[in-house]
Amino acid sequence: MVTIGNVDRGAVMARSEIMDRGAGDDVASRFHFTREMIEGSIYRKYEKAIRGIWNPKDLDYAQDAADWQRIDEVKQRGLLGVTVRFLAGEQAVTDELVPMLAAAHALRRYDWTMFLSTFLMEEAKHSEFFMLWHDRVVGVLEPDEVAAHFLVRSKTVDPTGRFEVKDVLHEALPRYGGLLMDAVAGGRQAEIEAAFVQFSAAYNGFAEGVLTMPSYEIVIDTTLMWDAFPTLREGFRRILADEGRHITFGTAATRMLIEKTPSLERLVHQVFDEYRGNLVGLVEYQKAVPGLDLQKYQTMKVRHYRNRCREMGITPDQTLIEQILDPDIDFVVGVEAG
């Protein structure tokens, strides 16, 4: 993966030849605000993020800590299977966002850069929320303590062998992020835009926008079913408000790029096709809490997928929808932790 700091002189020179940022005599190019920009949808999301800033340290974790002590070990193991995934996932999406910022800079989208500054801060804050919750409620924080509760993906298999369940956050995002950084270093606008569409499809469209949405509802429904963990539920409510902006930023940016270059739509479908196995069934941590109506969480993926396609202005893959709804497609799940 090419990083900003590793870009060689030749690449920088090539970039300056291809995408002249006009830092010479064109003084006006040093200013980025326009009336059109500050009236646009992305800038509105930036303003909304600034108005909605919250602090995980302002939440009171005492009731959740008391609730943790009163539920049995089966419930503890089930809930922790999901929350530990969020703890790892929020750190992954924080760590993997930089390529999008680099692309916004290269494409001279200052409104995207401004919004992404709130996006990155919010993802870091979400990881802080889960760190605090696990420390203050469960009493685990160090990597080896939380890793012991991480449900292992290799134990989730499709018995028919048709689909493979992959690790989107820790495999797809670094890989597509690396491709986007390579494109930014190359400096060719069309390649940056194509790589941005791929990365955003994986990050905002697939991971945030479809795969994770049922997991939020699983945790919220669990806290309501058990009449417990009010701060976990409140944290999820606030995180979801942030995530709504993140998802729709990515899909709106992708829509703009696809409207400019319609052939980019196929890249979105390629990403979803590559990780199809993660959507057609529920994976291990989504089945960890006993007593939930799991079919509801599988069915709702169709709404989230069709929402993302509508936002991106692309045609949904009807076969994927049919596979998501097919009751015969289900995974055998091992719930061993560690």
Binding site: A241, G244, R245, I247, V302, R303, N307, E311
Partner: protein, 55 residues
Amino acid sequence: MARAWRCLEAGCEALITAPDDEQLVAAVNRHVGEVHQSFELEEVILDAAEDAAEA
């Protein structure tokens, strides 16, 4: 101008309308909650909301 949002839950396609964006967000979440036992994010609703002749 009224605002409208179409529910894309599998097999639904309900069109929800309201006099403005704020009331549309509330109306959509009433629908998604009552019919699908779920919820929808405010930004998702606002991004796909369209003008409608009347609520």
